[in-house]
C-alpha cells in the first residue's frame, strides 16, 4: 500500500521533527538561562534577603519563593532535608516572588516577623497551613493571623511593622530581580549561581550534589 507507507512516513517525520525541535530549543534555553544569571549575578542575593545557614557555607541555594504557591510548600521540607543532611555546608537565601493574588500581603507579614526574630517559624507555619489561607491560588491575608499567633508572634506588633516603608521596597526589588533573572514560576532555584536545568526535585538534588562535590575538591 503506497498510501499507507506515505502516511506512516509523514507521521514519523512530523513526530521526529517535533522531538528534535524540542530538544534543540531546550538546549538553547538552558544556555540562555546560564548566560542571564552570569550577566546578572548581583540580582541573585540582596543584602535584605533572609538567609539560613553559615555565611561562609560553600554551597548557596537561592530560592525564589511565593508563600502562597503549593509547589513551594511541597518543596520546602525537601530543601530543609537536603540542608539538614549537609550541616554547615549549605546556605539557603530566600527571595520573594509573590506571583499569587494577595501574596504580597503575606510576604509583608513575613518581613514584619523578622523584626520579632521569628521569620523562619512564621514561614514554616504558613507553608504548613497553606491550604487553609490560600484556597484556589489566592492568598487571603485575614486567614494567616491565627497561624502566625500560634507560631508565637505578637500580632499587634506585626501588623504595625507590616507597613514599614522598607517592606514594599524589598518586595519590589525581589520582583524586579525575578524579572531580570527570568524567574516566571515558583519555586525557582539557583545553586552557586547555576539555574536549574529542568524543573524538579531530582535536578535540584543533582545540582546541589554537584556543587557540594565541587566544593570538596
Amino acid at each position: 500500500m503506497k498510501q499507507k507507507t506515505l502516511f506512516i512516513i509523514a507521521v514519523v517525520c512530523l513526530l521526529l521533527g517535533f522531538i528534535v525541535a524540542a530538544l534543540l530549543y531546550n538546549v538553547e534555553k538552558e544556555q540562555q538561562a546560564v548566560q542571564v544569571v552570569t550577566a546578572n549575578a548581583a540580582a541573585l542575593v540582596r543584602m535584605h534577603s533572609p538567609a539560613l545557614g553559615r555565611a561562609d557555607a560553600p554551597v548557596v541555594i537561592v530560592e525564589f519563593l511565593d508563600p502562597a504557591c503549593e509547589t513551594c510548600a511541597a518543596f520546602y521540607p525537601l530543601v530543609k532535608q537536603i540542608i539538614a543532611a549537609n550541616p554547615d555546608r549549605i546556605r539557603l537565601v530566600l527571595r520573594y516572588a509573590p506571583f499569587h493574588k494577595g501574596s504580597d500581603q503575606v510576604v509583608a507579614a513575613l518581613e514584619a516577623s523578622r523584626k520579632q526574630g521569628k521569620f523562619w517559624p512564621a514561614l514554616e507555619a504558613l507553608l504548613a497551613t497553606q491550604a487553609d489561607w490560600a484556597p484556589n491560588h489566592a492568598a487571603l491575608v485575614e486567614r494567616i493571623w491565627p497561624q502566625l499567633e500560634r507560631a508565637g508572634l505578637d500580632l499587634k506588633q506585626l501588623r504595625s511593622d507590616m507597613n514599614a516603608p522598607g517592606i514594599a521596597g524589598v518586595i519590589e526589588q525581589d520582583l524586579l530581580d525575578a524579572q531580570t533573572l527570568k524567574v516566571s514560576k515558583t519555586p525557582d532555584f539557583f545553586v552557586n549561581g547555576q539555574p536549574l536545568p529542568r524543573f524538579g526535585i531530582e535536578p535540584l538534588k543533582q545540582l546541589i550534589d554537584d556543587a557540594l562535590a565541587a566544593s570538596r575538591r
Binding site: 499507507k4 502516511f7 517535533f18 530549543y25
Partner: protein, 141 residues
C-alpha cells in the same frame, strides 16, 4: 491520477496541515511554555480532533470525512478570524472574551515581522477548508 486518488491526496494534505498545526500549537504551549489565551484554546479545540479524524477517512477512503472535517475547520476558522481581527484592533478591547491571565491581543511571537500565532492559525484553517472543499468538488465529478 484518478478521481479517488486525487481526493485521497487532498484529504491527506489537509491532515498534514492539521497535524503540523497541532504539533506547532503543542510546541508553543508545552515546549516554549507560552500560556495559550482563551481564544487559542477554542482554536485548539477545533484543530486537534482533525488530526485524529481525517486519517480515519483516509484508510479506507471515506468521502464523508470531508463533511466531518469541515464541521470542525469552519468554526475553527471563525475563531481564528475573530482572533486576527482582535489583534489587528478592528474589534475593540471591551468585547474581547479573554479574562483569565493571558490577554488574547498580546503578541508573543512575530516571525519575519508579520507572522504571529493567530495569523498562523488563520492560514492553517483557511488551507484546511480550501483542501477539504477541493476534495469535495473533486469527489462530485
Amino acid at each position: 491520477m484518478n478521481g479517488e486518488a486525487r481526493t485521497w491526496t487532498l484529504v491527506f494534505g489537509a491532515w498534514l496541515v492539521a497535524a503540523g498545526s497541532t504539533l506547532g500549537a503543542l510546541f508553543f504551549g508545552e515546549v516554549m511554555q507560552l500560556p495559550p489565551c482563551v481564544l487559542c484554546w477554542y482554536q485548539r479545540i477545533f484543530m486537534f480532533p482533525l488530526t485524529l479524524i481525517l486519517p480515519l477517512g483516509l484508510f479506507p477512503l471515506d468521502r464523508k470525512v470531508i463533511r466531518y472535517g469541515l464541521a470542525l475547520a469552519v468554526p475553527g476558522w471563525g475563531f481564528a478570524a475573530f482572533h486576527q481581527l482582535l489583534v489587528a484592533g478592528v474589534i475593540p478591547e471591551s468585547i474581547k472574551p479573554c479574562t483569565r491571565g493571558v490577554p488574547c491581543s498580546e503578541t508573543v511571537i512575530e516571525w519575519f515581522g508579520f507572522l504571529t500565532i493567530p495569523l498562523l492559525s488563520l492560514l492553517a484553517f483557511s488551507t484546511l477548508i480550501a483542501l477539504l472543499v477541493a476534495a469535495h468538488l473533486r469527489s462530485r465529478t
